[in-house]
Symmetry: C2
Subunit: 338 residues, 2 copies
DNA sequence: TTGTAGGCGTTATCAC
DNA sequence: GTGATAACGCCTACAA
């Protein structure tokens, strides 16, 4: 900018005024400055600008796994939404790992991001202290954090799972297995509650033997399904509360020579692009990814702009059951009901 | 930091020395500073630090679509690799849109990123001028750019496609359709060349009627397959040069009541997590995503550190044909060859 | 071992 | 309309 000023034979203040349109600059000076900018190849330094202005026009985004199709889509929506607003987003994957998250948020805060969108992982306590120590606005997505009064956009997980499991009971299933990960997370507790609610609704007893809790990974789903399907009285349906695990479940069925949906019905949480392309076409609970991403972005942008009411806002969206081909009445069911 | 210095009753320079471990600080001062840091909740300001040091410890990453499973995985690997190196990465999706890319790179450069990894989109000319105008190091992934001497890590697309199509001819297919997007991109030209090479190798004539060029989208793949499969002499196999389009292809087959692989064999470029979970299990060309991401990161990091030789390095990796269930000999083939 | 001072590139506040 | 000049928060000689 100093160079530009020299070449254009004006003061650096005038160049700044021109670049930001903050004051009227004479046509003559304008022309000289424009020329000078081109000749020196000037580009304004956002770092210096941020230091002075106290805003970076950058936000942080942390998610557990970007390869989880739900997060892939949410990240996609969020990055594009912020892009449109002229913001850059720094992305981090916590890999469901607590220490990663702490360090990444520290890094982000140190870089003076204007705000953060966080799909939290791990215990509430540590996260709470981090949030408490900063003035940067947070928006929680997917997972809440008890005791943290931040804006949030989440799903009504309980209802969503209840609907899906209710669909299975409606089909006639009486032994419905439940496969999930990470018990310490709000999302998972709600989903488990939805499972139990649907069972109760159908007058079915909750059987702990049909519940398998793993660690979000495909192999956990595989192991879970292997155990479940070799039970003496094996379940006729399985609901996976997350997407990576259902992959393992399907592979287990394949290795066991079990056909879906003929031998066992399967449904899972989180839709994915290939869900209706191959066989069986998967019945899933679809989250409104577009809305989640856009609302979270809007919430954070308002917070940054300071136009938001001071009390935290909590948006709870509804999932949608995508009924496809992976669920059928249990074999022998027609006979029973006849 | 000024506050910390005041509370600890030392100079700001001493605090800086302590924070960076750049000089010996007396135990007494250390203790007072540590206490002061806690009481004022000090966190170092990376923006000011960057301004002074001229390095942001931040890199930019732009890809066409993060929802394309290939890019999802590459982005995942790259973000984690930079994370380990203490770097933040700013992510942008160009959405295959030229003006987006220009603007995003401008934004990134303005933010003084230490370097960029770019999966380029669009014409070479504009990209070339952008690259030429900056001193920030670039690393190209997936797609090269003629006339740009930047580091790059790409795939041997020609060989990879030739192998896949060769597999189809080996199965006995004589009419193999080719579905692809974006002709202006190095990747796509190489893949098309691989297709023709395999045909030639098998002594098959190139038939323009079997080639459908769309725009990377699922619906383009759908339209292409609809046209191809209603041809009087329809192909017995189709190879999709990208992943989104093959989804459309499969949906078209389904809507046409055509079975894969019985009626028509399908293979495509880019592997995806669900490829071997459902039926048909998709035969794909798998790119070494892990290696691509890690090599690109290493290249950029070396460039940033200044430890790299000045001439640009070009890494060309090999794809791997993942043979699964979506390809079979054409119906009637056994009879013909007998 | 510790302190003082200058400057990184901007923007904002004044005078002129 | 334009130009000095003082911050923004940090780092780094250099001096003490």
């Amino acid at each position: 900018m100093l160079d530009v000023a020299r070449v254009a034979q004006v003061s650096i203040a005038t160049v700044s005024a021109f670049v930001n349109g903050s004051a009227n600059v004479s046509p003559a000076a304008t022309q000289r400055i424009e020329g000078a900018i081109r000749t020196v190849g000037y580009q304004r330094n956002a770092v210096a600008r941020s230091l002075k202005l106290g805003r970076t026009h950058t936000v942080g985004l942390t998610v557990p796994h970007i390869t989880n199709p739900f997060f892939t889509e949410v990240v996609s929506v969020i990055t594009q939404a912020f892009d449109r607003a002229g913001y850059a987003v720094m992305l981090f994957c916590t890999d469901e790992h607590l220490s990663n998250q702490d360090e990444q948020i520290r890094l982000l805060l140190e870089r003076m991001v204007d705000g953060l969108i966080v799909a939290r992982v791990g215990e509430d306590e540590r996260f709470r202290s981090i949030v408490g120590a900063t003035k940067a606005p947070f928006v929680l997505i997917d997972r809440l954090c008890e005791g943290v009064d931040a804006d949030a956009v989440v799903l009504d997980n309980r209802t969503a799972v209840a609907e899906a499991v209710g669909y299975l009971t409606g089909l006639g299933h009486r032994r419905i297995a439940y496969v999930a990960g990470g018990t310490g997370i709000s999302t998972m507790q709600e989903r488990a509650a939805g499972y139990r609610a649907a069972l109760e609704e159908a007058g079915l007893a909750f059987d702990p033997a049909l519940v398998r809790l793993g660690d979000f990974h495909e192999m956990d789903g595989y192991a879970a399904a292997m155990q479940l399907m070799t039970l003496p009285d094996r379940p006729t349906a399985v609901f996976s509360a997350n997407n990576p695990m259902v992959v393992g479940v399907m592979k287990a069925l394949r290795d066991l020579g079990l056909n879906c949906p003929k031998d066992v019905s399967v449904a899972c949480f989180d839709d994915f692009p290939f869900a209706d392309v191959f066989h069986p076409q998967m019945t899933t609970v679809r989250q409104p990814v577009q809305a989640i991403g856009e609302q979270a972005t809007a919430l954070l942008l308002e917070r940054i702009a300071g136009t938001a009411a001071s009390e935290p806002r909590r948006l709870t969206l509804r999932g949608r059951l995508m009924i496809r081909g992976s669920c059928a009445p249990p074999s022998g069911w027609a006979a029973q009901s006849a």
